[in-house]
């Protein structure tokens, strides 16, 4: 039996994660509406990767509950993993395999029936044709990111988890990637959870931002409302206020 159905594709309820004596996440709760794009922001050690890893079923919560598409993670993960995908700097595609070979393997793993057709569609969409038969390790950073993106879209996921999707890319390629992500979300109605340190990226892509600090949610709102509430001109300044602990005083002063 799946966990009781929830209207939210992702629901995190009082999540706590302790690593021995270190508290990585301290009782956070949030839910994400279908079709929305939510940014998870915070400095290093804020708990972003632990939160995303728990949502993906890679980490077992110490307490609390994480539900993805109605399945309790990580216990029921195999019921929903084929409907989710991700991109993360913590993993690579096998470098000696060609892009076509990698797509073939991951297409089969994710249960695509027409892997060749899906590969053609992704190659058109993400402009992969010129290097489909080159080894993945011999591609440029931008090309590797496009391949990683293709892998993350191979199963047309309902939920896409992105950890720093444009890190180490030049501005032009990063902009191109953001455009593709926006289009995928619009066309497919996918729910996207994005962890990033690039504030302009978050402002452009996200309907809502969850600010984490020391394993707790410090704030949670739309980018525009956060900027207005903190009396700042952009999200980066809001981020700095929260990271340095000046946000609360500033808000109180207003």
């Amino acid at each position: 039996m799946l966990a009781p159905a929830t209207e939210f594709p992702i629901a995190v309820d009082r999540l706590v994660k302790l690593y021995k004596t270190v508290t990585a996440v301290e009782g956070i709760s949030f839910s994400i509406e279908a079709g929305s794009c939510v940014g998870l922001l915070g400095g290093n050690g804020a708990g972003k990767t632990t939160t995303i890893s728990t949502i993906m079923g890679l980490v077992e919560p110490t307490s609390g509950k994480v539900t993805v598409l109605g399945a309790a993670m990580p216990r029921q993960r195999h019921r929903v993993l084929h409907r989710i995908n991700f991109e993360s700097p913590y993993v690579n595609m096998p470098m000696r395999l060609t892009v076509r070979q990698n797509m073939n393997v991951f297409g089969m793993l994710y249960g695509c029936q027409d892997v060749a057709g899906r590969m053609r569609a992704l190659a058109d969409e993400l402009d992969l044709h010129e290097f489909l038969d080159r080894q993945t390790g011999k591609l440029s950073s931008g090309q590797k990111t496009r391949v990683a993106l293709a892998k993350s879209l191979i199963n047309q996921p309902e939920i896409l988890l992105l950890d720093e999707p444009t890190a180490s890319l030049d501005p032009d390629t990063a902009d191109w990637v953001r455009g593709r992500l926006e289009r995928y979300r619009r066309e497919r109605g996918a729910t996207v959870l994005l962890a990033s340190h690039n504030m302009s990226e978050v402002e452009r892509l996200c309907d809502r931002v969850i600010m984490l600090k020391s394993g707790r949610i410090e704030d949670d709102d739309t980018p525009a409302r956060l900027i207005a509430r903190y009396g700042r001109s952009n999200l980066e300044e809001v981020f700095l206020d929260i990271a340095r602990g000046t946000g609360e005083a500033r808000e109180a002063a207003r």
């Binding site: 084929h82 989710i84 249960g111 047309q156």
Partner: protein, 273 residues
Amino acid sequence: MSMQSPARIAFSPRRVFAIVLRHWYLLSSSWPRVLDLIYWPAVQMLMWGFLQQYVSQNSGFFANAAGTFIGAVMLWDILFRGQLGFSISFLEEMYARNLGNLMMSPLRPAEFVTALMIQSVIRLSIGMVPVSLLAIAFFDFNLWGLGLALAVFFMNLLLTSWAIGILVAGILLRHGLGAENMAWSFMFLFLPLTCVYYPVDVLPSWLQVFAWMLPPTYVFEGMRALLIDHVFRADLMVQAFALNAVLFAGGVIGFLLFLKSARREGTLLQGGD
């Protein structure tokens, strides 16, 4: 796009095939990897073969026990290379930082382990078939001539190698590449204890108790019975299968416990040391 419903598939041969294919792509794109599979077994076999030739010229017993050294080294290689084939395929995923991709895909642990077992047989075949032909050419020793006995020896040794490979994979999942040496050295504990090159009687009696707890001991004793006394000891093979069933179950339970612990400690994404 049409999709299978993997949620309903508890064990998917297609996902198993995907992992086998991934490793086949890797092997076929890298001749040094293929050469490495043949190189050491060939060197070992030649060294022990020449040693046996020398010893048998000077000892009546060894002259009558033709092939025991070469047979032993080749069966040892099945045991050792079988485990190494499993463990190296697993390590390749860690070296490539691909383990996270697999752990977050619909691939199930049983499918992953099955794919690695198939991969270990493929790697073993690439190494052992040419070496067995070399043994015929150099020493007139035909491993294939053991017939049905070889099949029974092979299955027993492979089961042991998989059990150890599965357990080592669990340790690697939990402790990352810092535990890499386990993959290379774990099986060497079996070398003196399973009496590859000498009868169990040679061991002190207290150590014999431990030796008889290990399935390969029965295989190597069985091989000597076949080559020296020309008797196939079915009783030894039955005992080896029974012990292998216990060892394999222990390996799987160990793997699942390490996997659970890795999920608790958050080491599945890291894979480092």
